[in-house]
Symmetry: C2
Subunit: 427 residues, 2 copies
């Protein structure tokens, strides 16, 4: 279990993969669903095999349901969640165009930076970490800046906040602004409705509420976004045929050129990259698992276990971070008690209980832990085990904690939920 330094093993074969059991209760990655792990080991097939193109079409259809959209262009970007973000922004933004990024955590900064590297003129508004924007403030900024793209993070794990997006679509459509949403951390665990909210582009990742491994980015694009992107289409020189021409608005990246990716996923099946087959298998299974449960039910499950975790943390006598009215269902921020070492507590949880919780970035570094309840780990046993272990570790670190307070507060949430369900059934 000690990490080896590269120089120590130059010529000996490594030992077989055998990671220790871990309960991943940080802000992601979380444990993948067992069905997804099994899907990953499915044998490969060729990229133009009709079975493979069938799987690609099925994956599109499944993610239409996950994103709640009728968008034909619903597909995977082959890379981590960040690849999905960059693909969307470099394709939607022609260099020199304005983008507005409301920043309420680390990932707003990331969107701004990616857009800036894409050559866009970046305008930002900020709100303190732990809060979200009043949609009216965003609308006012859109009217003032008149951007080509409004780029919003939906759920930002760095602060645990969930930004309301409903209502922004109208103003964007009115002013010909394209509305992009980064739903990496939120999708599957919080209500999201691409079409109803007028979202033009949204990108996600598997390693949060979707319960899979990082490495591929589900994404969806509205007809308006598709028109903007395909206007920049240019077929690769090595594949060009009659009628395929150079384009002055050509997208600045080949790998992230979604016009090409649309051609690869669409009926033309024009080769771009070689689809990451195993990652596609995983993404398809993530969606299938989620839809077998039902999107509404999955969101409700995340709500329940997130509430239980937050109640449990408070029951231990700890304070939760940020505006709880706008907290994501799937992550709770916990103020680190005075006199307790951030790293020492996390190390003890990992070493003695095999449980991982998250540290923080930027202004919250050393101030809060982030505890996730997402995907496969949005489960009662995962919540109670984490609270029980955290109590012991904090006590060992000298913190004042309420004995049994975490678990019993979480139990109460579960009890209330059952009572509510019974009452509902009796009505």
């Amino acid at each position: 279990m000690t990490p080896m330094t590269p120089m120590a093993i130059p010529n000996s074969p490594p030992s077989p993969l055998d990671p220790p059991p871990r309960l991943l209760m940080g802000p992601g990655p979380v444990n993948a669903h067992p069905r997804v792990l099994r899907a990953l080991s499915t044998p490969l097939i060729g990229q133009y095999d009709p079975v493979m193109t069938g799987y690609m079409s099925e994956t599109s259809a499944l993610y239409r349901q996950v994103f709640d959209t009728g968008n034909e262009q619903t597909l995977l970007v082959d890379g981590t969640a960040r690849a999905g973000i960059e693909a969307a922004l470099v394709c939607l933004l022609v260099p020199g165009e304005r983008v507005l990024v409301p920043i309420f955590g680390r990932f707003g900064h990331l969107l701004a930076e990616i857009a800036s590297r894409a050559g866009a003129e970046v305008h930002t508004i900020e709100t303190p970490w732990g809060t979200v924007f009043d949609p009216e403030a965003v609308v006012a900024a859109v009217r003032r800046v008149r951007p080509r793209v409004l780029a919003m993070v939906h759920g930002d794990t760095s602060t645990t906040m969930l930004q309301p997006l409903d209502g922004l679509g109208e103003i964007c459509a009115e002013l010909d602004v394209l509305l992009y949403a980064d739903v990496t951390a939120s999708l599957g665990g919080n209500h999201f409705a691409a079409d109803a909210w007028g979202i033009d582009a949204a990108t996600a990742g598997l390693q949060k509420c979707l319960g899979g491994p990082s490495g591929t980015a589900p994404a969806t694009f509205s007809p308006r976004a598709v028109a903007a992107i395909t206007a920049r289409r240019q077929v690769e020189a090595g594949l060009r045929e009659d009628g395929d021409e150079e384009n002055a608005l050509r997208i600045g990246s080949n790998y992230f050129d979604l016009a090409m990716v649309f051609d690869y996923w669409g009926p033309r099946r024009l080769n771009h990259h070689t689809e990451a087959t195993s990652a596609l298998y995983a993404a398809r299974e993530c969606a299938a698992v989620l839809l077998d449960e039902g999107m509404k039910e999955a969101v409700e499950r995340h709500r329940l276990h997130g509430c239980a975790m937050a109640a449990g943390v408070r029951g231990l006598g700890l304070e939760v971070f940020g505006d709880q009215e706008h907290r994501m269902n799937n992550v709770v921020g916990v103020l680190i008690p005075d006199g307790v070492g951030d790293a020492a507590v996390r190390a003890a949880l990992l070493a003695d209980y095999g449980i991982e919780i998250g540290t923080s970035f930027g202004p919250l570094r050393g101030r809060i832990w982030r505890i996730g309840t997402m995907g496969y780990n949005a489960r009662k046993d995962a919540v109670l085990t984490t609270l029980a272990a955290l109590e012991q570790v904090l006590r060992g670190a000298g913190a004042k904690v309420v004995a049994g307070g975490g678990v019993s507060a979480a139990h109460e949430v579960y009890q209330d939920d059952q009572d509510g369900a019974r009452q509902g059934a009796a009505l």
Copy 2:
């Protein structure tokens, strides 16, 4: 097995993943090694778990052996092989700098296009598909163009050719040119020696001779390349601390900013993307499988089975494509006989035998098939089965083929090899 159209299954869960058995004898992807498939289903762990960072370090160490280099910066780019290419080129080339791309097939065009989108001034030289460059011609072009980067494809599956790279490193070092090699199709199946050849950057993919799934790109960077890249380093705004500043030469992509990726893989462990854990497991296992066999032995195996396939194709009475002195070990181009339909033969091979061979691009479209013998499929049974099936399908399509001629010519190659080995042992 019929591909479903997205609209046909909007609300029903898809059937479980159950692709038909396929023997993938095209230019890649090929069947993954069973050990690699099993590695893919290994449970996830957190990205800063000491076991995970240990696996990352081990993966670096393993790929140092695969690339035959001492380069500290040897790592994975999270995306398909094409992502590795783009990462290398956008990081090595500052917009406006000159790049020289010798083009001998589709992937040279790809390098030129990626470099062009990265803002480089692109210079190309070309040689007809099916031939390679005399290294002297490349050296002369380097002296004439004086590029910042010489970007070379090593093996180009579109033409089956393998470009000699040995000898280019000296002139590049002398003229302060960075030498980049795209070894996606060649690595593991053809001799490659990054340090001995003076290669400054090389990127690969798993889906060819490495025997894994597409989706992550092993890459290595010499100290000279690392210096050029880290001079462009800029820490993300959301993570910045004292001393981290803006950089005028900032790399044009965030996702492909290798200076950040070096910080993530290196001792600073500064978060960039969330490493694609399952893909890393696969990449680590691919290297372990290869090194268990031995790099020299793996290359020799590819040589043997490639020779057997080429001999078998000729034994059937067909013609092989291109300069056979410079053919990659792992792909054979086969001229499509007159009067035989390209797609019909491939479809029959797939439908009746479960065997996939490849079609072609650009100037070779409809003229040749490409038959791969790579990674796990560089095996005698795979070669003989493919030749036996191809004979039957061609006969069925009305082509004149030598009965038993393919299999017996391949057998002769295997027999000669055994005889040679016996003679060698007797000396």
